[in-house]
Symmetry: C2
Subunit: 331 residues, 2 copies
């Protein structure tokens, strides 16, 4: 397909699908596309929905989309699936879901495997969000599976994060006590018809009072039954209130600066990692260093410095800029 970026901006859904596939793959084509479309981004409200498997995140997202559609919002859902780092296969695959919304042209659903290095946010995820923004979606929901570190990292790409729990999940309450709480802007006790829903909500509120939310926003704790839609309207109102809070208090810009820092830090690390991987077979210096570490002839820290030298040149090794700034290079 030619002119993917141009067609995407004109509202071509096939071009959007193609664009996401391109940025998912990465490389030069992805970089050019992002460069072309970046100035059309930044206007959507990005909502992260996270929580342990089984708490009903997908059902909640479906119900939320129904609320958003009542107001005519154009909504995209990016479902991040955990994938095996070994085969690259997405666990959830192309499951049939969102049956109520599949025929709605203003709702777009895309599953994406998270192939970020070592569980981090894949750089493709950031860029996929950008493609959806450039297309013109007003709300983008990032739905993740689990509350491991990588899922938390994905939640950090959002403006507003909804943490979903279910009644009586002791592990999650533990997680909350240990600080995972801090990422939640809105807490939802889903499956509110199960016993213990109100007790769980009370426990969360008690934990919240002990924790320090990074902003002056006081996260609401809401009980909902996503299956029937009960309480979901209130969640959508809270999401909008949070967005207003961010916009009014300069927090939105601050959050986005934090996101850009995280992304660029990961990009720079990725460039270094790619340089190393591309050089493994080409550089005797590097492959010898690896063999020497295995044979216990060289320790790994010494090897890492030797590799940095081989990759980036003698005077940049080890401590890079820091060394450059604190003393002149004399060697």
């Amino acid at each position: 397909m030619k002119d993917v970026g141009k067609k995407l901006l004109e509202g071509d859904k096939r071009a959007l699908a193609r664009a996401i596939t391109i940025v998912e793959a990465g490389g030069q084509e992805a970089a050019s596309l992002v460069k072309e479309l970046y100035y059309h981004t930044g206007k959507a409200h990005i909502i992260g929905v996270t929580g342990s498997p089984g708490v009903g995140k997908s059902t909640l997202v479906d119900a939320l989309v129904t609320e958003m559609r009542k107001e005519g919002k154009r909504v995209a859902i990016l479902a991040i699936d955990p994938s095996s780092p070994f085969t690259g296969g997405a666990i959830l695959g192309d499951r049939i879901r969102m049956q109520d919304h599949t025929l709605d042209k203003d709702v777009y659903i895309r599953s994406m495997a998270n192939r970020g290095h070592a569980g981090g946010v894949s750089l493709g995820t950031y860029d996929a969000i950008r493609m959806l923004e450039a297309y013109g979606f007003e709300v983008i929901i990032i739905e993740t599976v689990g509350v491991g570190q990588s899922e938390l990292a994905i939640a950090q790409t959002a403006d507003t994060t909804i943490l979903v729990l279910m009644p009586g999940s002791g592990d999650d309450i533990q997680a909350i006590k240990s600080g995972i709480m801090e990422i939640g802007d809105i807490f939802v006790v889903n499956k509110g018809d199960l016993p213990g829903a109100n007790k769980s909500a009370t426990e969360i509120i008690a934990s919240l009072e002990l924790s320090h939310h990074p902003t002056s926003w006081c996260p609401p704790v809401l009980v909902a039954i996503s299956e029937t839609g009960e309480g979901v309207g209130k969640i959508w109102s809270s999401v909008k209130e949070h967005h207003e809070f961010l916009s009014d208090s300069d927090q939105l810009t601050e959050r986005r600066l934090g996101k850009v820092k995280a992304e660029l830090s990961e990009m720079v690390a990725e460039i270094a990692r790619t340089n190393l991987e591309n050089s493994l077979d080409k550089s005797n210096e590097i492959s010898n260093a690896l063999s020497d570490v295995v044979a216990r002839k060289m320790d790994p820290h010494t090897a890492a410095n030797a590799i940095i030298k081989a990759l980036f040149g003698e005077d940049r090794a080890g401590i890079g800029l820091e060394r450059k700034e604190t003393k002149p290079v004399t060697s």
Copy 2:
């Protein structure tokens, strides 16, 4: 404490505890300690135990240690806890466990938060294993929580990986089908007294027949009841058989080369990331690039290249070694 490395080699347990704290923190002191002790490592059998929360990994590890102690093996357990990237607190904390073994001087238990960047294996984990090896433990068990990408990565640090499941866990069977299976050298259906244990074992065997284990090792699928110790002796025998298989077939060296590659790749990325983070406040070029990205004046890919230039010098940007080798630098 002076001479931590020397005392550790002499068998001082307080020095061992101190050494792990040092490598967990990282930095120059950690690098020196690893350098000093690296030549005393490489002899232990490293066993990874992984699986979803609730399948009984800790109980299984306790029962396995009992088997190992019958043969007089000196055993260390490194329990990797998921931790909040926001507060750094370990969820499981210093739980009281391993009650049967706490008074046994040849068993050492250490909890460690996994603070690796973006969910990866923390570099401190690799070095903590080295401290335990240098001390002289013959078997080192790395116990992780969950089967997310980061836990899988930790499992890759092991010579032998035990994947623990419980009867009727559909999600896990899904995971197996999608390839997570490939990391398991030994499969254990724990809580074998629950209904469906044999059915689960049969399902796993069927999935295994469809998958391609990277080596010619045929992973056994064992049913056990860790609470009573039933079937645990057989697991320990299989672990030993796997180790023999690795040693006899050169796979051990190959696996360890893979581990060293993964670790050094992460170290190099970490050095680049640290360089960037240290430079954020010092370099106007870098902080301007970040602000420009937020303000949509510069796209992130262009910014990443500008940052690489600022960090590592003009002629190393973007494609590093590759560019260096394919054409002379003319600028």
